[in-house]
Amino acid sequence: MNLKQKYALKKWQDLPLGGVILEAGNAADYETGTWRTWKPVTHRENCIQCLACWEYCPEDAIVLENGTGPDGKPRKFVVDVNYYHCKGCGLCVRECPVNKEGVVQALGFVRDEV
C-alpha cells in the first residue's frame, strides 16, 4: 500500500475518537516538501563534512551515509537532502561554515519551481 492509499481521507465514522493517532512515528509519512518555495542543493565537492547542516535541520531532512574518516574510523557523511521532508527553510544554507566564508558554496539555495 502506498502512502496515498494509506492516507486516503476517511469518513468520521471510521476515525478513532478524539483525534488520537494510533501509529507511532507516522509524522515521517507526512510530506512537508510541498511547503517549499526555495530548496537547498548540495555541492559535495565543496563540502567539508562538518555535519552542521544535519545538526541544524529542523526536519531531519539531511541524508547521511556511513563511511570512513581520514583517521580510519567509521563516521557519517552528508550525501543529499530529503526533499520529501525539506520545507526549504534555508537554515542549513545559512549555518554552513563553507557558505559563511563566502568563497564557494557547499549548499546552494535556489528557487524551487513547481
Binding site: L9, K10, K11, W12, Q13, L15, P16, L17, G18, G19, V20, I21, L22, A24
Partner: protein
C-alpha cells in the same frame, strides 16, 4: 443509629458533602482540583479522605483551575478515571481546557456547584458559569436537591465513559442553596455504588507503552470537522445512554430519573420550565394553585446537554402557555433555556403555545413562593389575552421593574 454494612445510610448532609461522599465511593484514580467557593467543601472533604487513606486516589494539588483541568485531561488520556470539582470563575479559568477535554473525548467527571460569574464579584447561585459552557461539548446534568446531585454523580461515570459517548460530564447543583444546605438523604452502600459504577475502561491510554499513541495532535482542514462530527455523535448517543443508566440506577437503588422531570403537566394549561433548586418551590406553588383549580405544571430539566428536544416537545404538546425561568442572562438575547424550549416546541411538535421568558435569581437573588405565584398569574393573564407582548423577557424581583 448504627450503620449496617450493605445497607444504605440515611443522614443529614450538605450538597457539597454528598458529592464528596460519592467521590469517595467512586474512588477515582486521579483528582486534580483547586478549591473555590461554593464547591470548596467537596475538595476539602475529599482531600481528608485521601489523607485518611479512605481512597486510593492520586490527589493533585494544582496552582490553578487551568492546571486542574489540564492535569485531569492528562490523567484521563493516561488511562485513569478522573474527577474534579469547581465553581464559577474557577470553571471560567478552565475554559480553554473544557473544550480540549471534550474534543479529546476524555470522560472527566466534574462536580460543578453553580455560582454567578464576576462581576461585580458575587459568590452566590446562578447558572451563568455552566450556561456559558453549554457549547463546550460537556454533558450537563442538573440537580434539584442533595439526593439528586449525589445520584447524578453516582451515574456520571457510567454515562460519560460509555463507549458510545466518551465525553466529559458536569453534574451541576445550585451554589449555597444546595451545596451548603443540610438535607436528609440516602447515601447508598459503598460496595453497591462501586458495583454499579464498575471498572474504568481506558481508551488507547498513553500508559500502554507497548502500543504508543499520540493524543492532542494538530488537526487541520482535512480532519478537524470529521472529529467534531464524531463528538456530536457522542452527544446524540448520550440521550439514550443517560436513559439506560437511569433505568439501571432505578432498578438498583429505587429512585427513578429521566432526561427531565414532569410535575402535574398532563392536563396543565400553564407549564413552567426551570432548572435546579427552584423546582422544589415551584412544585409547592403548583400544589397550592391546583387546590384553587388552576391547571398548572412544571417541567424540570435534568439533561441540558444533550438537550432532549423531541422528548420535551412531546411532553409540552398540550400546554397552552409555557413560561421559562432562566437563572442566567444572555445579554442582548433571551436566556439559554428559553431558546432551547422555543426550538423544541416549534420544531418537534405541532403545538403552538405562547412562550414567555423570564430571568430570575442572578447572583443568588431569592425566588420566593410569592414570586412564582406572581409568574403563574402573569402567565394566566397572557393566556387570557392570547399574547405575551410587553411581558416578554421580564426580569423577576428586580427593583425598578
Amino acid at each position: 443509629m448504627k450503620h449496617v454494612a450493605g445497607k444504605p445510610k440515611i443522614l443529614p448532609i450538605t450538597g457539597a458533602g454528598a458529592m464528596a461522599q460519592a467521590m469517595r465511593q467512586i474512588n477515582p484514580d486521579v483528582v486534580a482540583a483547586f478549591p473555590i467557593t461554593p464547591s470548596t467543601q467537596i475538595v476539602e472533604d475529599f482531600s481528608q479522605f485521601v489523607a485518611d487513606g479512605k481512597v486510593d486516589t492520586e490527589f493533585v494539588t494544582v496552582e490553578s483551575e487551568h492546571s486542574a483541568m489540564s492535569a485531569c485531561i492528562g490523567a484521563s488520556a493516561a488511562g485513569g478515571r478522573v474527577m474534579t470539582a469547581t465553581s464559577s470563575a474557577g470553571m471560567a479559568y478552565m475554559w480553554e481546557l473544557l473544550y480540549v477535554a471534550a474534543s479529546m473525548r476524555q470522560p472527566v467527571l466534574m462536580s460543578l456547584v453553580n455560582r454567578a460569574l464576576t462581576g461585580p464579584i458575587n459568590i452566590h447561585c446562578d447558572h451563568s458559569d455552566s450556561m456559558g459552557a453549554r457549547d463546550s461539548g460537556w454533558l450537563q446534568i442538573y440537580s434539584e436537591n442533595n439526593q439528586e446531585a449525589y445520584d447524578n454523580l453516582v451515574m456520571a461515570a457510567r454515562i460519560a465513559e460509555h463507549d458510545d459517548v466518551r465525553l466529559p460530564i458536569m453534574i451541576c447543583q445550585d451554589g449555597f442553596i444546595i451545596s451548603h444546605s443540610i438535607q436528609t438523604m440516602q447515601i447508598e452502600d459503598d460496595a453497591a455504588v462501586k458495583a454499579f459504577v464498575g471498572a474504568h475502561k481506558p481508551y488507547h491510554p498513553i500508559l500502554d507503552t507497548k502500543n504508543p499513541v499520540t493524543w492532542g495532535a494538530l488537526d487541520l482542514q482535512d480532519y478537524y470537522i470529521e472529529h467534531k462530527r464524531g463528538q456530536e455523535q457522542g452527544m446524540k448517543n448520550a440521550l439514550r445512554v443517560i436513559e439506560e443508566v437511569s433505568v439501571d440506577f432505578a432498578k438498583k437503588f429505587g429512585r427513578k430519573y429521566n432526561l427531565f422531570e414532569t410535575y402535574r403537566i398532563e392536563d396543565a394549561e400553564i407549564v413552567m420550565v426551570a432548572i435546579g433548586s427552584a423546582a422544589g418551590e415551584i412544585k409547592e406553588v403548583i400544589d397550592e394553585l391546583r387546590t384553587k383549580g388552576e391547571k398548572v405544571g412544571l417541567l424540570k430539566i435534568r439533561s441540558f446537554r444533550p438537550f432532549p428536544y423531541a422528548q420535551i416537545a412531546k411532553a409540552l404538546s398540550h400546554a397552552q402557555i409555557i413560561t421559562v425561568l432562566d437563572r442566567s442572562a444572555s445579554f442582548g438575547a433571551h436566556g439559554p433555556l428559553f431558546v432551547e424550549i422555543t426550538t423544541s416546541v416549534y420544531n418537534y411538535c405541532d403545538n403552538r403555545p405562547l412562550l414567555l421568558s423570564h430571568t430570575y435569581g442572578l447572583g443568588g437573588r431569592e425566588l420566593s413562593m410569592q414570586m412564582i405565584e406572581h409568574v403563574f398569574a402573569e402567565s394566566r393573564i397572557c393566556l387570557d389575552k392570547g399574547e405575551v407582548n410587553g411581558r416578554q423577557g421580564m426580569w423577576l424581583n428586580v427593583r425598578g421593574d
